[in-house]
Symmetry: C2
Subunit: 135 residues, 2 copies
Amino acid sequence: MKKRSPTICPIVFSLDTFGDTWSLVILRDILLFNKSHFREFLVSKEKIASNILSARLETLIDNGLLTKEADMNNKSAAIYKPTNKTLELLPMILEMMKWGVRYNPDTDRKSGPIMHLLLTDPEGLRTSVVSKFKA
Amino acid sequence: MKKRSPTICPIVFSLDTFGDTWSLVILRDILLFNKSHFREFLVSKEKIASNILSARLETLIDNGLLTKEADMNNKSAAIYKPTNKTLELLPMILEMMKWGVRYNPDTDRKSGPIMHLLLTDPEGLRTSVVSKFKA
DNA sequence: ATATAGTGGTTTCAAATTGCAACCGCTTTT
DNA sequence: AAAAGCGGTTGCAATTTGAAACCACTATAT
């Protein structure tokens, strides 16, 4: 993943931190779809390649957005979790989703409680995601 | 710029629409720094190459985020303007900026009224940007 | 204990994208 | 008539991506 030099612009900083094709897809899977394992990220509809996934997880950890810890139930398994830095990204992610729903005619509006909450009570959705990981 | 297939996910839709390395930098220059000409985008600190700029402007127009019109003061000049679709992206952009300011120690917090407004009255900042283009 | 399947990856390599630099045609200014 | 401004395009090398195969280790089933 390409990097620009240190920037004074908050937008560019954000783009350099998570603004590639895959990082937000991974964070979505973690924050909204309760995924935490390498293999789970591989099977999402967007079909990320395992080498790319590996690289992105590494930069997300380097950027302080994810932690990696051992799964105590399975020595060969790793668990990826969001940090506070990532949870504080939720307002932006929810605004992005609102915009996406508004302009993407293919949006899956009905299925699942997430889309419904997004449109009726986004702040409630945010706090419920946060509390899921603060627990 | 790479594209994924039609998606039901609002996040992926957003990423496919403006989620590359340069689109939000261009939109920032237009929305916040009052730029509208090709040459103006070229001289921003991030140093976008002219061929890439050309390609991005084209996809932004194709995606309905920009319009291109002739500059009546100069036959060889073009003016790029944001659409409503872009103005509705401001909530997301402002949340992205808030997060960037919070986590980027290099952020230029003092200079210019934008950073001050972002932290004290983001909604006022949003409406002032909108009215700038609705006028 | 032995084989099978699950886990988190790495390696290889071709194809696509990016980025730099030079160049271009048209218009406006001097 | 010359020079500078405008919005680009072209050519090409370097980087990044993506698909597929492969791998070492762990856990499970027989």
